[in-house]
Symmetry: C2
Subunit: 487 residues, 2 copies
């Protein structure tokens, strides 16, 4: 393996100039997602996008199946009677709910699930009898519906969230439920790590937690324009739902006790984040583990050497398929190699192999990394090892680069001026906060930024310092409050 | 491998006495599907049912992916404006459609898809430019919605069909579209063959074809009570949809031509059919290929031999997992072996292995087939081969038994009396028919049976005979008309 071109990645100028314009260009040109469907906030997953999505779903399933979650499928219809039982929940969701009707069926008031707590609780009531039935952890990957009042945005703010993985769990007590919350956080970290998406973990403020939760822990990532995108949430629901649905269990001592529940969700937003974070002006790079095509082979053919080159391409493809890689030979005769390079870079195939006549003579091929555009000449006898190694390097580089960008985008600010300046530069800021709701709301208002909550990924307490709440200087700061402009 | 018990399958008396009562018992007791969800016609897939379903989905995906179909995902919302474009289609579906509304969004009239032709055609219009874009074949596995006016029935007649695989294709001409229709029929045969479900293939009558189709070819199976269940349909749609959605392509000669389209669907009804057809009074048998657990190992442990038995159980499980089988050890200590036998027979695990102290001494295990309850003593060194062979035998036996039952349930009848008698005995009948719609409707009425259409799985023409139409004796019979009581 001999380097023949230094790292020289594509620029990110167009991407930074107008991120959403770039994203829509990517979705269209890479044939991932069609945004022209004639209903507001509803879009079409095209075949290539669907393949990416299925790999992400497989990852999500694997990480849930292997940690004691059981897959289920609940109906999309929820009776309004059930949906409205938990008062905070209904208050939070009522304005965003779609109603379903059918001529002549008076009396049946149904909604389309915006989330499934109120569909699942009546069944948990039937399924949970005694302590041996706990903990109970189920999940489903389904469409949920939000009649968005804000502007919709392809894959990011949609009215049909079509890849909503929601997990719902029930536990004997708070301690066990909070253990589950921590497990869910670990599962989500693994999912995002595999997608090479960096994240901030914050405990949402009281005024921004999930409607019906005791508390919410959220994952946000930072997009190249500095705005944050919520990509996952984990809720401890206490007994808020079990109380109104009367979900109890029999303890060994004969007493009946309410279960404690949690729920946690992740959606196609994670895919949007992945495509954007690893994007550049030529397209994107899909992390090897999730790429529908991991290696594309482009035969470079002139005249009568065609057969020899194609035979080698096929044997290279066979070799790499044999070690479990997803390989595609682009054998189109009406496209030039240059056109094909552009095409597959756009679609984010992590590794390209060119095979031409000269390579045949030297028993080697040219391998190009999508992320850095580094090129190597690789001998045919060392190919499998080299490809595996380069794939790992791509994954590491995507992850490292993304984490560096995220880390450099978060700053602590001790004063209003400092915080405003940082926000103006597109940063996420962390400012001293007493923990008081009114003061927090005031900070958010003063800075014209959204509160993400208190950091869970660094020491949340400010500790022994004598910092004062940014908005209420009469109060001692006990926490950091993280703020940003949000999607 | 030494037989130690002859075939002596469980009886099917309860199953036959009241099929639906038995089915609901199975769904509940085998923890497949919970029918207690508080919305009419909406049900819950439980973890074990979900695992069966995921195996069936994988089979469906594999057979579509390998035959040029690309998976996509379209929104569940269809604008009424599009839904109502094709006049036959809207006439057929209008009474069964769910409307979606959201306070304050006047003007946007949305329905929940009952099927996706009218969602997909506007996008086909954008995707198809010229002849090189054809044929185009896409599919999705989604929920579709029918506001059933008939009585709903778990997994069989539901308001949310939650495993609807619908394929949609576009072609340059009728010839190519009809080639696709034949391919779809072959794909469906393979799916049902793998599920060991026997089928009748009929061309539906004019009055019963899909709303908007030129013609419909349908798969029906016969349930043990003699009633038929439609389990798959394939439609040639001609230019009915392309005309109203203006989906054309540019021919090499510069002319613009309407595309010809097809669509074909299969649903969770296939799973209901599979569970029922292989059912008996103790539960069901799931065909090995689709069983979530293919081999269950029940250690027979008394006192201090526990460790030796469990170690062997584990090594047997490892051996069988290594050849790709899905194996589960039922190590529960609070259940007796007899209780476990009952439990896993109910759930349809195709093969059971018992391991006790005596077996250890003889270096053998006892293997029991779920379908026939035949038992064998199998030496540990021949186990993998024996298990594989028995699994194949189970698949063959399930298929053969089911096909024999189906074949013996279809009779040709030349007279009304004969036909009535056969229908009274719970048979499907085939009677001579001129092909005239009015006569066909009259036959159906006279026999008080539903017309399935003309057979496609035997010579549809009656040929040179001088048979007369059953209802219109003045007309010569050109076809058979197949009738039954339908679910």
């Amino acid at each position: 393996m001999r380097p023949i071109r230094e790292p020289r990645p594509h620029p990110r100028e167009k991407l930074k100039a107008n991120l959403m314009e770039w994203f829509h260009w990517l979705l269209r040109e890479a044939e991932i997602y069609d945004i022209r469907y004639p209903v507001k906030g509803a879009f079409v997953w095209m075949p290539y996008g669907m393949k990416i999505r299925r790999n992400v779903e497989a990852l999500i399933r694997q990480l849930h199946d292997s940690t004691g979650h059981q897959e289920v499928l609940f109906p999309v219809f929820i009776p309004y009677e059930f949906f409205s039982k938990e008062s905070q929940h209904i208050r939070g969701f009522e304005s965003e709910v779609f109603w379903v009707s059918k001529g002549g069926e008076a009396g049946e008031r149904l909604i389309l699930r915006p989330t499934s707590e109120t569909a699942i609780m009546p069944m948990f009531k039937l399924w949970i009898k005694d302590h041996t039935d706990l903990p109970l952890a189920v999940y489903q990957i389904v469409s949920v519906f939000r009649a968005e009042t804000k502007m919709t945005n392809p894959m990011i703010r949609v009215r049909e969230i079509s890849m909503f993985k929601e997990a719902h769990t029930a536990h004997a007590d708070r301690e066990d439920a909070e253990r589950q919350v921590r497990m869910a956080v670990e599962i989500y970290k693994k999912i995002f790590d595999e997608m090479c998406i960096p994240y901030l973990i914050s405990r949402r403020t009281e005024w921004d937690k999930f409607a019906g939760a005791v508390y919410t822990i959220a994952f946000d990532t930072i997009l190249p324009d500095g705005r944050t995108l919520q990509i996952g949430t984990v809720h401890y629901l206490g007994t808020n739902f079990s109380k109104v649905f009367e979900v109890t269990y029999l303890k060994p001592d004969g007493a009946h006790e309410l279960v404690h529940t949690t729920s946690y969700g992740i959606s196609e937003r994670s895919i949007a984040a992945m495509l954007i974070i690893h994007g550049d002006d030529a397209g994107t790079t899909i992390p090897p583990k999730l790429a529908p095509i991991q290696v594309v082979i482009v035969p470079i053919v002139y005249g009568d050497e065609r057969k020899a080159v194609m035979d080698t391409a096929q044997s290279v493809a066979d070799k790499l398929s044999a070690i479990g890689l997803r390989v595609h030979i682009d054998a189109r005769e009406d496209k030039t190699p240059g056109w094909k390079f552009y095409y597959w870079e756009l679609k984010g195939v992590p590794l390209r192999i060119e095979i031409g006549k000269r390579d045949l003579e030297q028993r080697s091929v040219v391998v190009t990394r999508r992320d850095t555009l580094e090129k190597y000449s690789v001998g045919l006898d060392e190919l499998e090892e080299a490809v595996k190694r380069i794939m790992e390097q791509i994954t590491e580089n995507l992850r490292k680069t993304a984490w560096e960008r995220l880390r450099s985008s978060v700053v602590a600010a001790g004063s209003i001026e400092e915080a405003r300046r940082a926000l103006g530069e597109g940063k996420v800021v962390e400012v001293p906060w007493s923990g008081d709701n009114d003061c927090g709301l005031k900070i958010s208002e003063m800075l014209r930024a959204d509160a993400l909550g208190t950091p869970m990924d660094k020491e949340p307490d400010i500790g022994g310092s004598d910092m004062r709440d940014l908005a209420c200087p009469e109060k001692r700061a006990n926490y950091w409050l993280r703020l940003s402009e949000r999607y």
